[in-house]
Symmetry: C2
Subunit: 299 residues, 2 copies
Amino acid sequence: MAKDALTRRDILSRAGLGLAGAVGLGAIGCATASAPAAASAPADGAPVAATPRVSDFPYQKHLRPAYRLDAGAVKEAAYHAYYAGGCCHGTYSALLGHLAATAGAPFDQLPLDFGRFGIGGIELYGSICGAVLGGIMIVNQIVADPKARAAMMTDLMRWYERASFPSYVPAATDAAEKGLTRDFSAANVKKLQVVPRSHLCHASVSGWCTANRVAANGADKKARCARLTADVAGRTVEVINAHLAGASPAAAAIDAASASCVSCHTPASTDLPVASGMECGACHTDKQKDHPGGKRTRT
Amino acid sequence: MAKDALTRRDILSRAGLGLAGAVGLGAIGCATASAPAAASAPADGAPVAATPRVSDFPYQKHLRPAYRLDAGAVKEAAYHAYYAGGCCHGTYSALLGHLAATAGAPFDQLPLDFGRFGIGGIELYGSICGAVLGGIMIVNQIVADPKARAAMMTDLMRWYERASFPSYVPAATDAAEKGLTRDFSAANVKKLQVVPRSHLCHASVSGWCTANRVAANGADKKARCARLTADVAGRTVEVINAHLAGASPAAAAIDAASASCVSCHTPASTDLPVASGMECGACHTDKQKDHPGGKRTRT
């Protein structure tokens, strides 16, 4: 009972989000909440070190060299923020709130509510998973090197295609999580897992709900996506922390079957060229068993 | 010759982007470029009207009631910005640059380079068309009403599925546009048009290149996507201006064939539920001709 009695405020406070204070509860105005002392004019007339501005983008240059995000705090916050505003709000506000609370400007000048539009693959359209989009937008805020940025974003999407969701087990059940018909406990969650094979909300949600024989708009679906949101937020922390530690992140290679597809359907071809980094077979099921012309591998 | 001799600087200046000044040329720091006079402390000690802050989101409340965007200027800027940083950078920087130049704060405090990550469906992954994502992120900055926001974003994605691309004919050819093998002139561009049926870069680009028998990484593809970027930026202006004029935007309904699909595959079903607002047939070609169980319409 004590576990379930935690309020969202308690949880956000534990997650280091007390400063931002309003994850999922509305826009905040906190540009001065953590203005560094350096912004005060020095007595000796030396140049003032200005507070980093939102326009001075991307923001890796404003982070201390030893700065790292806390995956545990971010995951728990993301899980709860899902219930306040959806998957994209979950990852985006949890990551940004943590950055604002622990790194200050310019993260604390950005609106925590910017990710709400990503819910359900952008306003329920089934496009890119909002949790992934939220993580990608945070990577985009931080990483300066375009090659590293591309590798990190590709990693997030390709890792998502292959991950078994959900896996996170929250420290405290959210008050909004009611009416479940499936068992999401640590002892049982693995039995609910499905590998989406696609980074699109449509395929990911529809496939999981079909496998578990639950509705795509019910409590079980929400519980799954809340935990998936925590999983994606955690992966985003891992990818960002590795980059901040100086590692050169490299996304996993495309799967062998898709590599075979694009070995003929190259972007440079003028006959059925393909522009994609996704797993082909997740959508093109017909091409796997009845490929036009009978060709399935490069001859 | 005089038409082609225009520099990008000339064009941006014409487009009202002279103040932002650096569309596609790097991040800018322009928080003070258009600080309104109201930010100065009044002599009589009355409260200071603060410059709108980035955290005071969304930004519709900072726009004058009569404010409207100029579609022509934004489209031409988007076309050229495509060549500076891709499709998402094209729409995002053109729209944001125009807002910064014509509406001031807080748009002029935001980095123009935030949309570069969206290139080619997010770092060439083939996910959501970057031009659409750029437009969506600008809608997200402005619109306060969640229902209107959802309708406007759905409109952009569904309109994109059904539009004939490309249609824009630039006022001045970009200096980077060289080596075309297809004729994109006003007299011929309609012959190159394809309806993508999907808002995903992968399907949109692959389908157009296949229909026109050109590579997916060549000059013709880029010329197509540069014009499509202008088309999407123009549609985004239309949608935003209609909203600012007080119209209640409503996205077009899902197509009849997909409506038939989701009449059985409802989100509420526990047997093959579907979460999607997309056109089903664009990807599920096999379900159109050989639906499992022989059912193709609701019985």
